[in-house]
Structures are given as structure tokens and as C-alpha cells.
Symmetry: C2
Subunit: 411 residues, 2 copies
Amino acid sequence: MSISPFAPRKLAELPAIEGVRLAACEAGIRYRGRKDLMLALLAPGTAVGGVLTRSRMASAPVDWCRERLARGTARALVVNSGNANAFTGMKGREAVRATAEAAAEAAECTVDDVFLASTGVIGEPLDPSSFTGRIAELARAAEAGEWESAARAIMTTDTYPKLATRTVTIDGQDVTVNGIAKGAGMIAPDMATMLAFIFTDAPLSAAAAQGLCEAGVADSFNAITIDSDTSTSDTVLLFATGAAGARGVSKLAGADEVRGAGLTAAVEEVMRDLAHQVVKDGEGASKFIAITVEGAESAQAARRIGFSIANSPLVKTAFAGEDPNWGRVVMAVGKAGEAADRDRLAIWFGNIQVAADGEIAPGYTEEDGAAYMKGAELELRVDVGVGSASSTVWTCDLTPEYISINADYRS
Amino acid sequence: MSISPFAPRKLAELPAIEGVRLAACEAGIRYRGRKDLMLALLAPGTAVGGVLTRSRMASAPVDWCRERLARGTARALVVNSGNANAFTGMKGREAVRATAEAAAEAAECTVDDVFLASTGVIGEPLDPSSFTGRIAELARAAEAGEWESAARAIMTTDTYPKLATRTVTIDGQDVTVNGIAKGAGMIAPDMATMLAFIFTDAPLSAAAAQGLCEAGVADSFNAITIDSDTSTSDTVLLFATGAAGARGVSKLAGADEVRGAGLTAAVEEVMRDLAHQVVKDGEGASKFIAITVEGAESAQAARRIGFSIANSPLVKTAFAGEDPNWGRVVMAVGKAGEAADRDRLAIWFGNIQVAADGEIAPGYTEEDGAAYMKGAELELRVDVGVGSASSTVWTCDLTPEYISINADYRS
């Protein structure tokens, strides 16, 4: 498999976060010659918030996390790649419990403070005995700086690890937000997308952690799509160790506290950074496309129209072919089911106006459009002419490589 | 472009329908060396019913037809391929009127009895002067038997013309239902799909024609998808010349008349036959897949889950790769947003049970699944375990050829 053209030349360097230690290893769950199991140990007092898939076919680890998020405390996170432990019935639930028990013993905590995620093939039983024995070893090896190693261990068809970091000042002290994510395929809107784990040393109540997580997801992971397919395993968890409390940062009780505005922005930026990295590493992607819909009746309507464009196979293949086929954009606006005025519709590729008032824009030339489409990072803007709300979503193109990757993902 | 593997060895032979005469020619609108303009002349007294796209970006011909369907009478149908006359503003409306006027003159009728459809590229102005001069010539040449010629003239990326016919007995007389259609891409559910024209000599009121058309569309054109993209130009029109009235068949006032049950079934069969031909000629299609969802809360829920599976790029690419990847079917059920019980879900490929009670079925082997997937016509059945409603939809796989075709459709 070739590396995404958007792979960063240099990975983000994440600073240590007090209260977080990480380790990863080759457990051989499915892949050979690469890490596929990671453990994060979290200091006592760590608060957790999360957003999980809305799939009706949620995986066993998603069920496990959902049942425990209400408690709001976490001491360990275990993630494996290669097998999603989804649609695995009673065996799946047993695998989850066995993993949590091994992690609880290693982290010296209750099983209810262990969070779990699995990613990979759906429907194949996951044998926990193949890796639970490695968890104690990971706990002994866990160190503060192992972000890249952890990010690599959660990859499936990703071609590069996804890392992001921001630092903000609260109460005169530096507070850090780090995040790792994996993506690649089965990436779709309107729910938390795939696996992403955010860590901060900010002192947060569980309610604040949950609020920050939900607020951040809305315009990051919930604003991207690769293939319109929503995973059974989507999990975004935010862990707040509270270690900055010892440096004089007082506890944030809610996500809306004014004092935490910088943190809210930092969490959203880390999430958006990761979300964009996920899209740029979309299976077979050769173009990264920001789609902004303006002039809509509501932000929700703008989002829906944006996703209708972003998920259209015909729009996506036109981008792959570097064809400024704005007629297909018109089609995708039309099928979205949201209010749009055909006779006021306007479309721009970058700064080039392509359509105005429901027809081709005066002065637009196919040559200008075609030249713009040669770029790797593209912007499409559509004004649907019925209101003043707007929304931006991000996607990639649909290439023959997407099909090659997915026609033999399991073989 | 290679011919679909599902192309019929022998095209259906459609008998003449009294009151319908057809002609087609090479007008050179976009294509070279093939017919791209057709005219159907309809006897006085012909009733018409129709179902049009729900796209908010409907084409000028769709607007034209919508405004005239309420009148319920038709004397001529003009269809061109190569240019959809969609998103063409005032110029598009003018082109439609000029075409209708030329046809009205040739057919010696009011412009309001002329129905129009255009298919092809969106957003490029259609110059009617390039072909309106040919319409009188087509009217002079029109003959009863030119079904294949008409079906060929409306093709875009279709690799074969689509024709179907049925004959039923009403009041002791044979009544015929003929249909032609075009498809290929931008084919999506929940509205009339692409262009299809149904002709019958049954004597029908306009209400009956409309009712028959709507009833037929529901489980035929509205139950198929190629790529989830809905055209700006989707048009299904049913023309009833009433010629069988002269042979003693009395007029059907409504689509629900018991005497017309055979006709209702024949219309639906013709539409389903054409709809299946459209899917089988889906761009790049190598598999024809019937997806039946059972055990759903309602027929609508079953239909939605069916389309969620049928439109999933990951399911479609798995079919292309002959991979019995039922985990992706689980995913697509989960994301549909309709009620489904994960722990009662069951899946069959043909007669092979793959999943039962929320996990892999006892005795299922990957070899059996893989062998089944080698077939060209496949059946997927899913029981979602919450009710007793069911629905079937039809789709094709997603192959690299779909992308090749659409990445340079306009060049």
C-alpha cells in the first residue's frame, strides 16, 4: 500500500502530560511485524468524557465504554487493532471483560475505570488470551513520552500515525492537550468517528470532560466523511488527569466556564487537526476538500447539504479525475432534501466563481476550473440562496485505490 | 467502454401499440455517430401520468412536465441525450419552450400536450436550434415499430438499450404495455429514477394513468440504486393511447379498479424489468445484487436498511472483490438509523446462513461464502429481528470501472 500524499514530512512532537503513561507492543492479533496493542495508564483522579458511535450494531468495547462513561473516572485505556470485536455476541462481551480485568490488575484499579476500544475486521471472534498476558508487561514499560508508539499501534489501513497537540494557559499555568487518532475507511458523519483519544492535564470535573468532548466533536470528527460508512466502533474519549491542579490551576466544573475558553478551543483544534489528518489519510485519497455551504436555512441544513456533496460518488470521482464538474455539485445540492433556491445557487472552486444565479457564471472558463482542480488541497463553496446559515465539512476524493484497498481488505 | 456482462443476448421485441409512432435521429447534440434525439407521436385522447425527480435542482424539462401533468393529456414526447438542460437558467426554459413549439407544430397539437426529457451533462446550455429543425422530419418518419431505435437514442453511458413488454387481457381483449428506459449513473432511490417511458393502448383516465405510474414506480424504479446519486432529470412517464377502447375495452377510471388488476401488475412488471436492466447496466457493474431486509418494524424501515446496505461503498466494493464480507453488512444495518436488534441479527448469502443471533452462524465457512460470491447474480437477505415487515432493493457492485467512467465522463 502506498503512503498518502498528505502524510506529514515530520510527525507532531507531543510533550509529556503529567498523569499519562503509554506503552505499545506487537501482540500479533492480526498483523505481523507491527504494534497492535496499546495501554495508557492514567493517574488517580482522571476524569473522562466520550462520544460513541450511534450505530445500532455497536461493538462490545463501545457497549463497555457507554456503560462506564456515566461514572466519569478512568485509570486505564486499552486499544487493539486488527479485530474490532464487533458482532461477536457473548464471546465479544467475555473478551471485553477479560481484557478489562487484566488491565485493572495491571493498573491496580477497578474494572469500571478501564476503557477499551478495538478496531479492525468485524464479525470475527477476538481471542483475549492472545494478548491479555501482555498487559502487565505494558504497564511495567509505560512511559510518559510514548505518543507515537501508541498512535502507530491503533492503525489499521492508515498510512501514517495521527498526532496533534496544543498548549493553553489557564490560571497562569500551561495546560496541554494531546490527541491521537486512527481513521482510513468506514468514516462517516453525524457521530463520533473512528478512534480518537484526547489527553489533558487540565483539572476537570467529569461533566466538564464530557462537555468538552461533545463540543469538540461537533465541528471536527462529526464534520468529516471519507466514504459515508459509519463504523460499529467509533470512539472518542477525552481523559483529563488534573495534574495541572497541583500547579495551581483550579478545577473546571463545566465545559462552559469562561476561564476554560482557551481549553475548549484547544480541544476543538486538536480534534479538528486529527480529523483533517484522518481525511487526508482516507483510503486512496489524492485530494483533500473543504466544502462550505452558505446561505442555508440552518446550520444543520448547511451541514446536510455539505455531506450530500461530500458523500456523492459522482462528485468524489470528479475530484479524483480533476474535472471541475460543478453540474454534479448542483445534483448533490438538489438531492440533499434541504431548502435551496435553484435560481439563486452560486458555486465557487477556491476563488473562482463557477455558477451564479442558477447557471454558469459569466466569465467562467473550463480552463480556469481545470487548472484549479490540479491542486491537492481544494475548497468548494456553495451558496444555496435561502438563508444565512453556513457549515463546513471535509472530505477526500474517491479513487480506484479506494476500491483496490477495500475489495481485498481481508485477504 | 466495455459492454455490461449483463447485456441481454437478444433485446426484447416490442409489439406495436396502436396510437404510438416513434422515430429517432442523429442530431449531433453531443455524441457523434449515434442517435441522440427521439420523438414519440401519440394519438389524440392519450392520457399521461408521471413521476418526476424530487431534486431541488430539477431540470428545465422536469419543470415543464410537472406543470403539464395535471392536465393529463399528451400528444408528443421529445427526448434528447447528451445534455440534461439542467441548471441552465432562463436559457434552459427558452430551450424547452422552443422544443415544445417545434413538436407541437409537427404533431399538430397544443404545446401543453408536449412532454420533454433531456439527459446528459448538467450545467451546459442546450442550444435548441441545433435540433428543433429535425423534429418535423422525425414526425414524418415516425413508425409504429421503432422501439429499439427510440431506446438507443436516449442512452448516455448505458451500454445497451433497455426495453420491456407485457400483454394482459382486459374485457376479453389483449392490452399491451411497452416500456423503454435509460440509466447508467446518478441512479438513486426514493424518487423516480432517470428516464423511463411506458406506453399502453389501455383506455385510461388521467387519474388512472397517474395512479398506475405511481404504483408501478414504488417497487421498481424507487427500489434500485447504483450510486446513491439522484439525478436532476429523473422522469417516468406513462402514456395510455386508449386505442384498445375501440376493440371494446371500456375505460379504466382509476388505478385501483379490479378489472385493471392485470394491467397494474403488467405496468409494475415492465417497470421492474426496466429497473433491473438499469441496475445491470450500472456504470462498471459486474454483480447484480438483490437485497431483502426482513423482520423490520415497517416496510419503510426495511427499505431504508436495504438502501443503507445497497449504497454502502464498503459493501459494494466487497461484492466487487467477491469477498463475503458480512461484517460490512452488519455495519450498514447499524448506520441506517432504523430499529434493529444486534443480538438477533441474521444474514444469508443466497441459501447460506452466515450470521445468526448476532454472531457468526455455526457451521458457516468462509469457503462457502467465497464460492457463492463468484456468481454474477447474488441475493443477500438480512433479518433485523424486531418486526415482520420486509422490502427488497436491487443494486450493483462498485468497481474501478465506475471511477474510470466518471472521472472523465465529460472529457
